[in-house]
Amino acid sequence: MRLNIIEVARRLELPPGTVERWIRQGRIPIQKIGHDCIFEAAALEKWARNHHLCFTITDGNPDKKTEETGAGDHDSLLSAMKRGQVFYHITGEGVQAVLTAAVEKLPDLSHPKKTILLEKLLEREHLTSTGIGNGIAMPHPRTQPSDIVVEPMVSTFFLAQPVDYNAIDDQPVSVLFLLLSPNVKSHLHLLSRLSFCVRDDAFVSFLKSVPDRDPFFRKVADFEEKLDKAEYGRSQ
């Protein structure tokens, strides 16, 4: 097999300088011709195993790559919200009733899954309320159910009447953001983006007006743009 030194070094997860030195010192079963390394894949794999080094003949480490890309470009809040949709006039008395009504509205979910999800949401509410104040609550399961959703989504529910939600500021809640993510990372990402929006007084009073879908999405898009700008500024 013939590869260049950089490739070999990457697959061994070592700096190229080390691999080059090992070849020169004759410690590794690789022959070098110019910048190319010639080796027998099986022999090198065996050697690496014997020396507790990792060597994969396939290009790079696929797990790592997806993880990195996953962390790199998360979904935007807007697309998650569009996936989750907006629902109006949710009725119910008390936490359990509104959540039951809300989960019932969720699209693309089979009945048994909805039952499981509702249980999980109530379990989380039992721990501490997700009512974060200003009449807003963010119900979400404690562990991220990868079998329920494949893509992160945020569903918005406007309640018909404010409900006592045991929120931290004791105010009744009139808006629910239901967060569902396949993994913890995207959950935290969405949570931090959403909390950026709801911290803003303007956004809260905008929510109080129970906006239609389109103006609501536009507002969210505006806020995300602001957030992106701030983050872009940091990385500069």
């Binding site: 070592l14 700096p15 300088g17 080390t18 030195r21 090992w22 070849i23 020169r24 010192q25 004759g26 410690r27 590794i28 079963p29 022959q31 011709i33 010639i38 027998e40 022999a43 014997n50 020396h51 507790h52 080094l53 500024g233 940091r234 990385s235």
Partner: protein
């Protein structure tokens, strides 16, 4: 045509050798053994001819200047023509093996041969073995370079060259093998031992081809009693004392001669003159001295006990005058002569004190003395044992031989922690035996350990901006760089800003250069890892910035060092 030549030129790339190069090393080892055996034979032959040629002049009154002329010429040759330092060359071989993967210059393969031939042939007290070892090693190294072999293979071939040379000059293949492993390579592994054994055989065969299968020193039958074995303990102490004396004398002489305001060849001439004057009174101290050894082993050495005892001191003095003042040659042969003098003195002393005991003849004690001196001087007991066993062919002396060799090595080791060959290297911190901490640290470079995941910040950044950087970063260290010329200014550790993290008022009032640490210990890109670790240990640091041309290039941390050190150790220890 060119293609065929290229294929021959890179045998390491042939398919049969690619996975396992043992066969290749054995084949090339044979070539190396033959070449170094030839070199050894050549030196031996020219020494004998030079002795014959100079023999008529030895009795003239001005003969004492002969060693001076020889030593001066050898010194001039080394200094002016081939541009190499004086000395016997074994430390150079060991250093090149441990540090440069056995890389040696081509000229080393003949320079010491000529220089030592001039020194010894003219009467200087030195031996031809060490120069031959250097030549053999250089031959092995250059053949390896010709075939474009890697460091490990080249080291094996340097060992092959040394073994072939010793095997040829003493006609002692086993001792040669043991010497190459014990002294030159410093490790015992099957990868080395097979080619080296083959090379020893080749070297010994060359010597037998030209000179016949003769043992250097033949002997008579010995009948060793229990009392002789007991007596060998005393001999071990004496030989150890003689080795220590020789080692220290050589060193002292080197120190004294360096203070003399003279060119190097002038010093060699002075030393040679002194040896020549000494030789007027005790001609046995001149040259390699094998004739004296032969006489002593035969039990035919005529002079009385006082002369022999003085002979020990005189030979030590002559050897240190020759080698310490700039002559060229080894200490192998002088050590053998001194050893046999010591042995004979001890035997005669015993016979004087306890005349009623039927001691074995003095030839046997001469042999034991030689083994004791070689073992003590080189601190290589196996080499001493096998050499004496082989060059005399007497298995009967094995028991006292083991006692004398082992004990002499032990005693010498407690007085001189490093052997004669290694002492200079140890003092310069250049002794890097395989599979040791020093070797692993010397092989790893700062460049290979760089961590480049640090985010660089600017000195006029506000704390607020800096907090954003902190949010992004995975590290606790932030190097600060000058905006204009990119020079490294200092470091910020996360601890430096920890008190202000939650104080938002300070976000817009504090600048980065107000919190940065400007007095940071830094590492240069080409620093030795040993020094870097020493610095870290001394100051209790776990990470240090690496600077090149005043610019920050990365961090080096103990965590990465441990990780890579372990990998390196695993790769180096399991061959």
């Amino acid at each position: 045509m060119l293609k065929i030549f290229m294929a021959w030129h890179y045998p390491a790339q042939w398919k049969i050798f690619r996975s396992d190069d043992r066969l290749l090393l054995i084949l090339i080892g044979i070539i190396v053994g033959i070449c170094s055996g030839l070199a050894a034979f050549l030196l031996n032959y020219s020494l004998v001819s030079l002795l014959h040629w100079l023999h008529p002049y030895r009795h003239l009154w001005w003969a004492f200047v002969l060693p001076a002329i020889g030593a001066a010429m050898s010194s001039l040759f080394l200094e002016k023509i081939v541009n190499e330092g004086a000395g016997h060359g074994v430390p150079e071989v060991i250093y090149s093996v441990s540090r440069h993967g056995g890389l040696m210059r081509f000229r080393s393969s003949f320079s010491r041969l000529i220089a030592s031939c001039l020194t010894i042939g003219s009467g200087g007290s030195a031996g031809p073995e060490a120069p031959v070892v250097m030549s053999g090693g250089a031959i092995g190294s250059n053949i390896a370079q010709f075939f474009e072999l890697n460091d490990r293979q080249r080291i094996t071939l340097v060992g092959c060259g040394a073994a072939g040379a010793i095997a040829s000059i003493f006609n002692a293949p086993v001792a040669a093998m043991v010497f190459a492993m014990e002294v030159i390579l410093g490790e015992w592994s099957s990868v080395h031992i097979v080619p080296i054994a083959i090379a020893s055989v080749a070297g010994a065969e060359i010597s037998r081809l030209f000179q016949g299968n003769q043992i250097a020193f033949s002997h008579r039958q010995f009948h060793i009693d229990f009392l002789d074995i007991m007596a060998s303990f005393g001999l071990a102490v004496l030989t150890a004392a003689a080795s220590i004396l020789l080692t220290r004398m050589l060193r002292k002489m080197g120190g004294v001669s360096r203070k003399v305001p003279m060119p190097i060849w002038g010093r060699a001439a002075v030393g040679g003159c002194a040896v020549g004057l000494l030789g007027i009174f005790l001609p046995d101290v001149l040259g390699e001295g094998y004739d004296a050894i032969r006489a002593m082993i035969e039990g035919l050495y005529a002079p009385g006990i006082m002369v022999v005892a003085i002979g020990v001191l005189a030979k030590i003095l002559a050897t240190s005058l020759t080698l310490g003042w700039g002559g060229s040659g080894g200490i192998f042969a002088p050590a053998l002569v001194i050893g046999s003098f010591v042995g004979v003195t001890y035997h005669r002393l015993l016979a004087l004190i306890l005349p009623s005991v039927p001691w074995v003849n003095e030839g046997c004690y001469a042999l034991l003395g030689m083994a004791g001196l070689i073992s003590g001087l080189l601190q290589a007991p196996l080499t001493g044992m096998f050499l004496i066993f082989e060059i005399t062919g007497s298995y009967e002396v094995m028991l006292p031989l083991i006692i004398v060799s082992a004990l002499s090595t032990t005693i010498c080791h407690s007085f001189e922690p490093a052997s004669f060959y290694l002492r200079d290297l140890v003092e310069r911190g250049q002794l890097l035996r395989p599979r040791t901490d020093a070797k692993v640290l010397a092989d790893l470079t700062v460049r290979e350990l760089l961590e480049k995941d640090c985010i660089v910040v600017r000195p006029n950044m506000l704390l607020r901006e800096f907090m954003h950087v902190v949010q992004k970063s995975r590290r606790n260290y932030y190097p600060v760089e000058d905006e204009k010329n990119g020079r490294f200014l200092g470091m910020i550790h996360f601890d430096d800003i920890r008190p202000y993290i939650f104080n938002t008022i300070m976000y817009d009032t504090v600048l980065v250069d107000q919190v940065m640490d400007t007095f940071v210990d830094t590492v240069q890109l080409d620093d030795d890892l040993k020094d870097v670790l020493q610095k870290m240990d001394a100051k209790g640091l776990y990470s240090m910035p690496v600077i090149s041309n005043g610019c920050f290039v990365g961090m080096i941390s103990k965590a990465t060092i441990l990780d890579r050190y372990r990998k390196e150790l695993m790769v180096q220890t399991s061959l």
